[in-house]
């Protein structure tokens, strides 16, 4: 009996850790971003390759971002110093899907990124550069893409990498039975529909010119086409293709824990839930990695700090709190890297309800909420209040013509009065006989909600609004949101490097608010179709100004992530867009 209960406590405590990841306001960097970056391999993470030249707007956003260098390397634990040729990275356990076609968590992708290669790879500023591609030719109508593969690249079993492997991956992505999360139909390759939903056995828009050249025709293009096409992994057809037939992918999935790629590291052993071990691929085409052995070791939030301290791991993603930053600094031998997180927390409103349909009311609710106190209460100085749904480090970010909605109860009251919500005899505002009551659905055990609810309840009471809060399972809230059966909820979105998304366009797949604004729709469509980054900047600036004025949701904050990295490890190239795994092959261990 007691046993059952303690299991239950366990269940839910642990759940809430997981849930808060999606529910927003969670502190574990990688997980909230997981869904977004999980599909880095394709679906819609983007900034066009052309953009690379023009964007340099990456001054670190917040006040507390940057690197705090290790102060005293003599404090390095002996166990870490003795590990001369091995780097141990602490992280959440992957699911064991070591195939970029099927993986769907950021942790599996950490594994896949060091094993597999792509035509292009992301740079620290969020734009892309060529990786396996030697060059790319694009016709003037932006509908034909010719990729030239670098010469002489080999898989780690010695067989050559060819564009046939690229085509093979393409066929798997477009297979009718493909059950991964990537969506390559968005690339609009000619013939993909006939292959996926028809009886075609080849994709007509793809032409293999020779082992190193492939030409792809698309029926339509947008700013993301190049990213879709460039981030298809090379997986050896000779290795994975045995037993592959259209409509049967089991033989490929059976190799999930035995990956073969051309990347900087080779998986040498995998112990589920414990560790993934790698050895360096000495013939890596960008040069042999400098660290011979690498281990991804499973850690969790509660103890990852202690593991760095005891020297059992060399680096880990640590929740950003003032306590943790202090702790890492005090260790002395740790470099503390604080980076803005690609995502933002927001309060969603059901715009189908009359009270929220009024722009003035939404503005009033934003003015009337002390967002600064909430954010400071949770993250201290390690998060910023935001007013547009974009990362401060994105090239699309703008502060021009943006209203900051600083906490102002009087202004809020005035707006509510203008909107026709008058204070009733009981101190609660009412209009047309309806009381201003908000039912707030919150994911629980979420640090943001803990700070949000007391402050919001008080703030809104001052405005004459009665806030009734409930806590619910994250999925339950999302289902209510999808059904439109809610007033208000708190959640967070992950952001892709490209500003294009479907959250604020009319009937967009992720538009849970029921938001519809013709200006935003038009600008979003324009931005998607435009390939010139300077022109896109202008378009998105207007779009964000419109969103800022119209307040489709109450935007709350952009927080930060933190990597604690032992001072003995040097050479990482980290940015909000370029995670640690992409520069592992350049990293060195100081002896």
């Amino acid at each position: 009996m007691t046993k059952k209960w303690s299991v239950l406590v366990g269940l839910v405590l642990a759940t809430s850790m997981v849930l808060s990841a999606c529910g927003g306001g969670n502190n574990n960097a990688a997980s909230s971003n997981a869904p977004a970056s999980a599909n880095a391999s394709n679906a819609g993470e983007s900034a066009s390759t052309e953009a690379s030249a023009s964007t340099d707007a990456n001054d670190p956003a917040g006040n507390a971002n940057g690197v705090i260098k290790a102060s005293d390397m003599s404090l390095l634990p002996a166990s870490a110093a003795a590990r001369k040729d091995t780097l141990i990275v602490g992280m959440t356990a992957p699911q064991g899907i070591f195939n970029p076609l099927f993986s769907s968590t950021v942790y599996d992708n950490y594994v896949n990124d060091v094993i597999f290669d792509y035509f292009i790879t992301v740079k620290a500023d969020g734009t892309y550069e060529n990786s396996l591609a030697d060059s790319v030719e694009i016709t003037n109508d932006n509908k034909t893409y010719t990729y030239h593969l670098k010469q002489g690249v080999k898989y780690t079993d010695g067989t050559p990498v060819t564009v046939k492997d690229y085509y093979f991956a393409l066929k798997v992505y477009l297979d009718p039975k493909y059950d991964g999360e990537s969506d390559l139909t968005l690339a609009k390759i000619v013939g993909s529909d006939e292959y996926k939903n028809g009886s075609a056995t080849e994709i007509s828009g793809v032409k293999i010119i020779d082992d190193n050249t492939i030409q792809i025709d698309v029926s339509d293009y947008d700013a993301m086409t190049q990213v879709y096409l460039g981030t298809i992994p090379f997986i050896s057809e000779a290795y994975y293709g045995k037993g592959f037939k259209k409509g049967s992918l089991d033989s490929i999935k059976a190799l999930n824990t035995k990956p073969l790629g051309s990347g900087p590291y080779v998986l040498s052993s995998y112990k589920a839930g414990q560790e993934v071990d790698f050895t360096a691929n000495d013939s890596y085409f960008k040069g042999a990695p400098k660290v011979k052995n690498m281990i991804y070791r499973t850690t969790t939030d509660g103890t990852n700090l202690s593991l760095i301290q005891s020297g059992e791991t060399d680096m880990d993603n640590i929740t950003v709190t003032e306590d943790n930053v202090e702790e890492l600094k005090a260790m002395g031998f740790v470099d503390v890297n604080i980076l803005p997180n690609n995502g933002y927390g927001y309060i969603g409103m059901n715009l189908k309800e009359k009270k929220f349909a009024d722009q003035k009311v939404r503005q009033a609710l934003t003015y009337g909420l002390n967002r600064k106190d909430i954010v400071e209460g949770v993250y201290g100085s390690y998060a910023n209040v935001i007013d547009i749904p974009e990362s401060k480090v994105s090239w699309a970010y703008t502060d021009e013509g943006i209203n900051h909605y600083d906490f102002d109860t009087e202004k809020a009251k005035q707006l509510l009065d203008e909107a026709g919500w008058k204070v009733g005899s009981d101190g609660i505002r009412e209009k047309d006989g309806e009381k201003f009551v908000i039912n707030f659905s919150a994911t629980a055990d979420n640090p943001v909600v803990d700070a949000l609810l007391p402050i919001m309840t008080q703030n809104y009471k001052d405005l004459g609004i009665d806030l009734k809060a409930e806590t619910l399972d994250f999925n339950a809230i999302m289902e209510k949101a999808d059904k439109g059966d809610y007033d208000m909820y708190f959640a967070a979105w992950g952001l892709t490097p490209d500003p294009d998304n479907t959250v604020y366009i009319t009937n967009g797949a992720q538009n849970r608010f029921g938001y519809s604004n013709a200006t935003v729709d038009k600008l979003m469509a324009e931005g998607r179709k435009e390939l010139d980054t300077e022109k896109r900047k202008e378009i998105y600036k207007q779009m964000y100004q419109e969103l800022n004025k119209d307040v489709p949701a109450i935007f709350m904050y952009q927080r930060t992530n933190m990597y604690g990295i032992s001072g003995r490890v040097t050479g990482f190239d980290l940015s909000p867009y370029k995670d640690f795994d992409l520069s592992l092959y350049q990293v060195q261990l100081q002896q």
Partner: protein, 309 residues
Amino acid sequence: MSLEAAPVEVNAQVPAKPVKADSPWRIAVRRFARNKLALAGLIIVILMFLICYIGPLLSPYNLYDYKLTDKNLAPNASHWLGTDKLGRDILLRTMLAGRISLAVGLVATIITVLVGATLGAVAGFYRGFVDTVIMRFADIFSSIPTLPILIIMGTVLSDLKVDPSNRIYFLMLMLGVLSWMGLARLVRSQILTLREQEFMLATDALGLKDNRKIFRHLLPNTIPIIIVSATLSVAGAILSESALSFLGIGVVPPTPSWGNMISAANNLIDFRKRPWLWVPPGMCILITVTAVNLIGDALRDALDPKMKK
């Protein structure tokens, strides 16, 4: 309790016979009142209730107060037990939490015990078909994964627009309903033994009705097991409450409970540097459990038919 598998002649002493006017229950009440430790336990529980209900009225702070400049203060003159990460008074929160946690712990336990003991006794006493039905029912109940059930429950309550502040009653109910199976099995197996004992022959001979046999003569003999279960379940329920609250069937922040106060300090740094965050709620649970156990022990002695006055 009679777990003895002792031979007949040794066990000749039949438990206190139901002499008129001196029913086992009445004897028990008298014995209980005479037990000092039990009274101490009872006084502690009552005192806890009083402090939790009256204390907050005397506090200069209120539930929604927060003050970021006063966060994580150690105990001091204006905050006797310190403050949490939003600068809220721990003393006030511990007392407010007690209102929730004490009620949840005790009510859920009472439900568990009533349901578990009754069903267990009935199953053990009647055996056969009744036993099969009740026990298979218990099997099914213990096989159902609790977490999804609670998620559904939370969603339904939300869909029905049940006022969040009333959902705590559903929580007590759910905790009770989800945890009677263990006790039912324990009680049943004891009753299976007890019903074969000689004193039951006597009740047969006296022509007692079934419910009198069960509730007057069999169940009192299983009290020790019930007491142990009950003390364990008080603590279990108090800690589980915080878990259930996450799923929408319990309290909503900022309303505190002892369970969610401890859970909020779930990292090594708070653990080490700020004991005032978790010691007060932890101590309260400990005191409550100990008090309940004192009462329980006394109850057992009081109800033990084999003990002479």
